[in-house]
Every structure is written in C-alpha cells, then in structure tokens.
C-alpha cells in the first residue's frame, strides 16, 4: 500500500459575501497517496477548485477564509505553516497548472526565464545550469526546437504548447504532487489527447502524484486511479475508479454518468438530472442534492447523510438510501 502524501481533514473554506456566507468547501476529507492520480470531479461551483486553492494557500482573504480542518502534506499541517515555510514547499514539492495557460504565463517574460525562475529560486541553480535544465524540461514535455522556444514569448505559442510549458514549469523542481485544475478544458480534443498522454507519461516516469480536477467523466475514466465526486461543497462519493464506474452509489453520480452522451452509444433520449445546482449561500444542514433527487425521502430534507463506506470498505458515499437509520425516523 502506497503511503499517504496529502490528507484533507474536515476542511472548511468559507467565503463572506454581501448575501451571506458561502461554504465553498464544507467538511471535506480525502487522501492522495504517493504515485496515484486522484480525480476530483463535479460541476461548476461545487468547490473542487477551492479545495485545490486551499491546499496551495491561494485563498484570497478576505473574502475567503479557511475556518477549520487540516491539510496534511507528508504529515505536516500546511495550514499551520508560516508564509516562509509554505513558500519553500509551494512550487517545489507541490506545483499547480491551471485551466487557462495564457493567463497563467507572464506575457513580458520569455518562456526560458519563466522555467528558470523556480530552478534558481528553489534548486539554487546558477543561470547556466538552469538554462540547461530548462531546455531538458522543454524537451521532456514534447516540444521540438527547445532552444528556440527558450527565447520565445508566450504569445508566440499555441494553446497546447503553452499548456506544455506550464507543465514544464510545474515539473521543474521534481514536485511530489502536481495539481492540475481543468488542464485540458480550454483545448481542442486532439490537443487534449496529447496533454493527457503527456501527463500519463510523467506519472509513469517520475512517479509524481497527480490531483486532477475536471468536470469530464471521460477524462476521469482515462486518468484516475481514485475518484472523489463533489457536489455543492461536499464530497458525496469516493471510490477507486473501476469501482465507481461499475457501481456508482450516489444518485448524483449515477445521474452524471447517464447524462453524458457517449460516442457510438446512441440513446433515444438523454437522461437528465432535473433542476440545477442549489444557491450556495446559507445552505442548510441537509442533503444538498435532495431537490433534484428522484429518490428523495423526508429525512433527506432535514438531515445530512453521513459519509461512510457501505459494503466495499474503499467505496464511500453520503446518501440516506444506504443507511439503516432512516427506517427509525
């Protein structure tokens, strides 16, 4: 069994808005093991990005605040670290790539300068060896003519190449954890296939753990070892990938799997989950999915279901359908 690299324990990240408190991340716990790809899947606004931002210490305060819980990275709580300690880890042991590669690269610096920066800062290299390593990295992520790219600016590259550069920067200091927040959402499918291939190679070669945030269940099926499904700020189901797709438990997960049109499998009519994601402001302590759920019972409206394993110890979900207790009420 691989060691745990990261553990979220009861993380609570809230945002103060004029209309009330938004519990963007509401009591979230899960683990990322070494060498594993963990996918966090959910629709927009479910808190998947905020979870990753909390891990990186990138929650802007105010309006955001981490009000509770722990994030353990190699058994040390990131939330208790000083800024200095955190900046030693961030960019070195934990690196992140974002959805929009254009807005995360600095347009006035060359690609080479941006890849060298973390090498000089974290690995204490001099300029010359940083350049050598940077060119190696550009080759590693599959861009030809590395020397020429080293001196180019971001606007000279295509979207897929920029995302490769982002990955090169993220990999520069041999991170233990790579967080990828919707890395292929802005790209075309043929380019997406290239980037996903690259990430799989990286995981195989460098044994990096990956936390992949996505809304696309197809990407999940291809990349994940372990899946966490989020809805309205909460983890509602988690399981190893094969188990989740074979045996989804939560009605939301089941609905998501059925709602996606799949190529070469034509259905007469797509299954659709009625209604929409609830307003995140001041959500009650109940099952947040209850008003869209076809199995909704009285207890779902008043009490939040516990998140636990039912038959398979590795497969957890939060739904009253699988609880004995509901009979009593």
């Amino acid at each position: 069994m691989a060691k745990d690299l990261v553990e979220f324990r009861n993380l609570e990240t809230h945002f103060q808005t004029p209309a009330g408190i938004v519990k963007a991340v509401n009591n979230v716990s899960f683990k990322i093991r070494e060498g594993e790809t963990l996918c966090v899947v959910g629709e927009s606004g479910c808190g998947k990005s905020v979870t990753a931002m909390s891990l990186m210490g990138l929650i802007e305060s105010p309006p955001g605040k981490i009000v509770g819980g722990e994030i353990l990275f190699e058994d040390r709580d990131l939330l208790k670290m000083s800024k200095r300690e955190l900046s030693l880890i961030r960019g070195k042991d934990i690196a992140m790539i974002f959805q929009e590669p254009m807005s995360s690269l600095n347009p006035v610096l060359t690609i080479g300068e941006q890849i060298s920066e973390p090498l000089i800062l974290h690995m204490l290299m001099d300029r010359k060896s940083a350049k050598k390593r940077a060119i190696e990295l550009i080759n590693l992520v599959g861009i030809p003519r590395a020397e020429k790219i080293f001196d180019s600016y971001p606007h000279e590259l295509s979207g897929g190449m920029r995302q490769r550069i982002m990955i090169a920067i993220a990999l520069s200091c041999d991170p233990k954890l790579l967080i990828a927040d919707e890395p292929t959402t802005a790209l075309d499918v043929t380019i997406q296939a290239q980037i996903l291939d690259l990430m799989r190679d990286i995981k195989k070669q460098l044994k990096t753990s990956i936390m992949l945030i996505t809304h696309d269940l197809g990407v999940v099926a291809e990349m994940a070892d372990y899946v966490v499904v989020m809805y309205a700020g909460k983890v509602i189901e988690e399981a190893p990938v094969l188990e989740l797709f074979k045996n989804p438990q939560h009605p939301y997960t089941k609905g998501l799997l059925k709602a996606k049109p799949i190529i070469n499998q034509v259905q007469e009519r797509l299954y659709s989950i009625p209604g929409q994601v609830p307003n995140p402001i001041e959500l009650g302590n109940n099952c947040h999915f209850h008003d869209r759920c076809e199995f909704c019972m009285d207890i779902c409206k008043v009490k939040a279901p516990p998140f636990k394993a039912h038959e398979n110890q590795e497969h957890k979900s939060a739904c009253w359908l699988y609880e004995e207790e509901r009979e009593v009420l």
Binding site: T190, A221, F245, L270, S272
Partner: protein, 321 residues
C-alpha cells in the same frame, strides 16, 4: 427525397489581413474555403471541427450576419446574399441563431420577458397583451416559469439563460435555427436538459437545425447528418450512421478516437495527432491535413484531394480512401 431547405454552394469567406503603414491587405484568412452542402427540411445537420476551422463563420455567413466572399446560399430557393436589406429583414424571423455564451448574448438591463418579446414588436405585433401571451407561451415551451418574465438576466443560471436564448430564437416561429455551440458552456447535467429540449422542439415544431459543435458525442446524439471541417474545408460528410460506423478520413478517425470515453475498463487504440492546427492564414499546401496526418505521403503535400462521393452519400476528401 425530402425537400431541401438550405443549399450552400461553393461558399467562401475570406478575412483580409492588413499590414504595413497603410494597412494594405497583405493576405487572407480563408475561414471558409469552397464549401458546399445542403440541409433538408426537418433534419439537423451537425458541423464538427476544432477551434479555428471556420464552423462558426459558416453559420454566420449562411444567415448573412457577415457578407460572403463568393458562392451562394439558397434558403427555400431564394439567394439570401442577393436580397435587399428590407427583403432580408422580412425573412429574418424564419432564420434564427442561438449562441454559445448565454451570458454575453443578453442585455443585462432588459427584463427577459422583453428580451424575448422585442422581436415581435419589430415584426408587426402591436398589441402588448398578445406579445405577453406569446412570450409566456414560448417561455413555457422552453421550460421557464411565468414569474421569470420580469427578472433580469443576472438572476438566472447558465442553463436557464440558454433556455432564454432558445426562447428568443423560437418566438418568431422560425424554420431554420443555427445553433452555435449551444451546450458547450454548460455543465453535464444541464447540457443533457438543453439537448433534450432542442430535440423536443425539433420534433414538435418541425425545425431544421444547423448544429455547430466541437463535441462529436453531442452531434451524434442530436444530428441526422454530419460534416467534419478542418481549416476551412469540409473533409468528410455523411449520414450519422455512416459517419460513426465507418469514418473514412484520417482526421475524422483521429477526432473520434481522441474523445475520452467514461469507461475505465475500455482499452482503445488511440490515434494521437502530432503537432498543432496550422494557422489558417497560411495553410499547408496540397491536403491541408498532411502536416498532422499519420498516413500522409509526398502526393498529399502537392496535390489537393478531391472532395467526392464514395457511395451512400458519403463524401470525403482524401487520396487514400
């Protein structure tokens, strides 16, 4: 044989590239380069391709939202690009468009009831009561509640805004709707709702769609015939069944194999295309796809393949089919 509603012949749309001190035209982006197809009444025609392949430009040029460079577009036998301004305005209610981004296509200061109904006033309905009735009826068809009438766009979620966009297109009882990536900005659970709405509307109102999308799985679900575009040209066109069972062009094959399928047990032979899409301002010679094609030969570099029928109304442009 069903009736042809829209006939596109050798349509071209070039955008000039200007440069130098005098902003002279130094070249052209051939966004749509010699494309012909037809859409029959009551069918939905899917147009697929990656960003920059010209699929949206086709939609806009067909509706004459941009002027063509060459070629003809016939709607019920009338040449849309030859009509006078007023004649075109009279015809507009029959031709509608739904955009990708429901956020930016609604005026934030106009209540949605008015946003949906404004076209009615413009086209001769004078009685406010009748307008209100028709708006409410259309809203109901599109899954919006009557109390939404007086709300502003910011009060709606993405899926609801797309319903508003569809209602606006629908209020004039159109014959033909261009749907330009209508579900791309939406979450999966909402996307399914909108796809179902679009197919219900088509059945109930005998609509004809030009459905533009980059997502082959959505197109397969909704469309009867499919065209695949690459860099301004149509590379393959066939009925849905034919296209998905027997794709012929190497680009179509690669596109299909690139889509991630939500089944972790599936092991697929994937064709991963090398490189990026070339710039449409300077497309490769010969077959435009040869720079990324896994089976390209020297012939592909010099000779443009002919776009031809290979039987079963399956058109393809490749030397090796």
């Amino acid at each position: 044989m069903s009736e042809v509603l829209v006939q596109v012949d050798n349509l071209k749309k070039y955008f000039p590239i200007t440069g130098g001190v005098f902003q002279r035209t130094v070249g052209h982006v051939k966004a749509v380069d010699d494309i012909s197809f037809q859409i029959n009444k009551g069918e939905s025609f899917g147009l697929v391709g990656e960003s920059g392949c010209g699929k949206s430009t086709i939609g806009r040029t067909i509706l004459r939202l941009t002027e063509k460079t060459d070629g003809t577009v016939l709607f019920k036998g009338q040449d849309l690009h030859a009509l006078k301004k007023e004649e075109l305005r009279q015809l507009r209610p029959k031709l509608q468009i739904v955009f990708q981004d429901p956020f930016s296509s609604l005026n934030p200061r106009i209540r949605i009831g008015h946003a949906i109904g404004e076209a009615l006033y413009d086209h001769g309905v004078k009685d406010p009561k009748e307008v209100r009735e028709r708006v409410l009826e259309t809203m109901k068809i599109c899954g919006l509640a009557p109390y939404h009438y007086d709300r502003y766009p910011h009060e709606f979620s993405g899926g609801q805004r797309q319903r508003i966009g569809i209602a606006r297109a629908l209020i004039m009882n159109p014959d033909f709707i261009v749907a330009d990536e209508p579900v791309s900005a939406l979450d999966v659970s909402i996307q399914a709702q909108i796809i179902n709405l679009l197919s219900d509307l088509q059945r109930d109102k005998q609509l004809t769609y030009l459905f533009i999308s980059h997502d082959l799985s959505v197109v397969e679900h909704l469309c009867d015939r499919v065209g695949v575009m690459y860099l301004g040209s149509m590379v393959e066109m066939a009925s849905k069944q034919e296209m998905f069972k027997n794709p012929l062009h190497p680009y179509t094959k690669a596109l299909m194999s690139a889509i991630p399928i939500p089944d972790p047990t599936l092991k697929r032979e994937r064709i991963v295309l090398q490189g990026d899409i070339p710039s449409p301002a300077n497309p490769p010679s010969g077959c435009k796809f040869h720079t990324r094609c896994p089976i390209a030969t020297d012939k592909c570099k010099v000779e443009t393949p002919k776009y031809r029928d290979v039987g079963n109304e399956h058109f393809v442009a490749c030397h090796y089919v």
